[in-house]
Symmetry: C2
């Protein structure tokens, strides 16, 4: 047995649910489905109660079961019913469990039983392509996958999912921007196994098109034009959908790199990442001190944002503030965000330095544009911030001027003081920033880990900057 | 009389040679020409001795006479004769005057009589287009200009030349990269007068084509393709030559700007620039101290370089070192050079700062390129200069590394220590740099003005950075 086979078989053993766990989870599912069926019958509404998701397809991971129960309604059932009465029935069916209402396109119910998440989701029974809501595809996905998986392939899907989780590319949610469970299944089916997916991914290129069901046979160029994405996987049950639309370029690249690394030196680390190990605040402080860069963190408290909304706001804001800093002359080395997804989030920026030299060069118009030249000359006339010029280089005018913002912390404080929407902060987040935020610089950032659970590990990972599974070359 | 007319007429009075000066210069010319004719007759070589240049065309400026004497030989006279025996005859004809041998395409003699420069230049009598040497065109230029200038236009040419001198755009030599005397004459003839040239230039655009003799009538696009230059003035006596080839984009732009400024507010300052006024070394030092930028000067001693060679080397080197500094992360605000054209030159750089933060971001390959990725990972493995990463952004790998050169002075010293040819220093200059150079930083630069005549004024102008004629807007 090769190392590769040995690693896979050991991992598979750890992640395949045993009989006892299967029975426990399935009986929980049957239980709720039974109650739901009875309640719907009582109500006199026809709805097909079905088990969906990884549990239905037998591709779930031991210890990480999700129970997805779908109720499929006829198209003539009004949406209003789904939004109101249906949710009441779902609550009744899961009475006694911890319940959270969630919103996708329409609301659904999420509950927790014994650490197992149960989702109760309504959808419509329609023919492929005549979708009334985003969840209408799910039963077709389930049928497609079930019809193509044998026992071996189920294990291959499990390996791929666990690998994706381990390296941080699993999940279509905005926080991750990665591969959905369904996409993992489609890839395993398409390539015929876990290692086969990795081998293929090692050679992926930006813009690759996979079309497992052959919807575009011979016309892949059309798919490229239609979807315009770095990774296109035509949904086997819907030629009009890219099943990989959620995968960001970063996560696609990260998966490709990890696939190659794993094939080069197979190890369980990829599936079960090592914990960062205990870091002390003093060690983090020393790390930042000796680093020589400037780290800026903006801590904001928020409320009433579900994760996908929150992360949309965070990513957009990080990008916008990063560009704002760059436009003012700061060299931004990295920018990212952290959140507990409940009430705290932190925007993080690492700069070459937070303190720029006092003078910068301003580019003016080409001399040919008389009106622009006149405006430029007038704008820079006798201003106290003019250091040198105007002078000509090539065919343009230039001046040297005192820099308006030489201190990044000052700049951020000023731009964010009213929420920062003008500076590109996303609207919902701006509302919370306007109510208050804390700006921390360098070693001060470590203080955040006192109040924020999980931030210390995030900060340690941020300082390291390298995927833990990336083997050091000698 | 408008201000414009008043200024022009006052200037014209100052720059038009009076009778006494004319006689003195012309008799000097006739004197030398007579001796040269006699010597050639004695030698038994036929050569037409002619007065050329601004003196022949009567477009010279009072106090700035140049006597250009050309000897036109039949094409069968060997080049060897021009290079050797002819020079001996020229020396004999100017015996008693201070003599310097110069090289253009072939050697010529330059002498000084009473502060007046006399050039004795050989050329061939050939038909237009059948040029044997670069100077063969000159007699045709003289004929062309003489045939088109009346008394009024001669004054217009004088105004244009003096204006060009005043704003620093006069001269085809590499130091200036500006407008030759002949080009000034062609422009004045083409547009019909000094103010007319300025009015037209105010509206010039990059790539403009002027074709006074109509060689390309209706086919200006061909001229654009043929010459590929920002300013194309087809030589009236040679359709294959751009008479404005020597004009750099900077000097073209400077002339356009000055033309507009002068028309907007006519003043003698444009023709007779104010002297910078006395600056003390202490004042210069204080100016640099309070400025907030970093100024670096490299002082080099040289020998055996005529000005056009020297300035070619200086401009190329300034550009190369500027790029080298930029590639290492320094923000170069300005770069220029100074020389006494005898034995001292100074390369000058102004940077935002000469001291960069210790860490920088290095971009690696896109993950798709497996071999490049492997090389990048190996290169950055376990090196003590690795600060963070490798990490992925977009589809590329990056690392944060200790900066190799955080100190610009150190970097320059290291790169120049063997002359700097690897760093792009032009070859002849590199030879001199290898023998030794002095690197000065900020206030130290002022020290150079103690030994170098003219450097103090240059430095004062450099710090100001603005053309003195550029009116401050309110």
């Amino acid at each position: 047995m090769t190392t590769l086979e040995a690693v896979c078989s050991k991992v598979l053993e750890r992640i395949t649910p045993g009989e006892e766990e299967r029975e426990r989870v399935l009986s929980l599912a049957q239980d709720i489905m039974g109650r739901l069926r009875a309640l719907l019958a009582e109500e006199g509404v026809w709805g097909e109660v079905r088990l969906e998701g990884s549990l239905a397809k037998d591709t779930w991971l031991s210890g990480e079961a999700d129970v997805d129960i779908f109720v499929r309604f006829k198209p003539d059932v009004p949406r209003r019913f789904l939004r109101t009465r249906f949710l009441e029935l779902a609550r009744e069916a899961t009475e006694g469990l911890k319940q959270v209402e969630r919103f996708a396109e329409h609301p659904y119910l999420e509950c927790y039983a014994d650490g197992i998440r149960v989702n109760i989701v309504p959808c419509y029974a329609v023919r492929p392509g005549e979708w009334l809501s985003a969840t209408d595809r799910t039963p077709y996905h389930t049928e497609y996958v079930k019809s193509r998986l044998d026992e071996r392939l189920k294990g291959e899907v499990r390996l791929l999912k666990k690998f994706m989780k381990g390296i941080g590319t699993y999940g279509a949610e905005l926080r991750v921007g990665g591969f959905s469970g369904y996409l993992c299944e489609v890839l395993a089916i398409h390539y015929g196994g876990f290692v086969e997916v990795l081998r293929a991914a090692s050679r992926w290129r930006r813009g690759i098109v996979l079309d497992p069901a052959g919807h575009y046979a011979g016309q892949e160029r059309e798919a490229t034009e239609l979807f315009r994405h770095h990774l296109i996987v035509i949904d086997p049950v819907d030629p009009g959908r890219n099943a990989a639309a959620s995968v960001s370029l970063e996560k696609m690249a990260l998966f490709v790199l990890a696939a190659r690394e794993f094939l080069r030196a197979p190890s369980e680390t990829f599936f079960f990442p090592e914990e960062p190990g205990p870091t002390s605040q003093e060690k983090l402080r020393a790390g930042i001190r000796s680093r020589g860069t400037s780290i800026l963190a903006i801590h904001v408290r928020f409320s009433d944002m579900v994760p996908d909304i929150l992360w949309g706001q965070l990513w957009r804001t990080t990008r916008a503030l990063s560009n704002m800093l760059k436009n003012e002359g700061f060299r931004v080395l990295r920018a990212t965000a952290w959140s507990d997804e409940i009430s705290n989030c932190v925007l993080m920026f690492e700069l070459e330095t937070a303190h720029l030299p006092p003078v910068e060069k301003h580019v003016g118009p080409p001399v040919w544009l008389e009106e622009h030249v006149e405006r430029f000359l007038r704008k820079n006339a006798g201003k106290p911030d003019l250091v040198c010029g105007p002078f000509i280089e090539g065919d343009r005018l230039y001046v040297l001027k005192r820099r308006r913002w030489a201190d990044a912390a000052e700049l951020l404080r000023e731009r964010l003081k009213n929420g920062g929407e003008d500076a590109g902060v996303a609207r919902l987040l701006a509302k919370h920033i306007a109510e208050g935020f804390t700006l921390l610089l360098d070693e001060e950032v470590v203080r955040l880990s006192e109040g924020l659970k999980g931030f210390e590990e995030f900060l340690a990972d941020f300082l390291l900057g390298r995927p833990r599974w990336l083997a050091r070359r000698s």
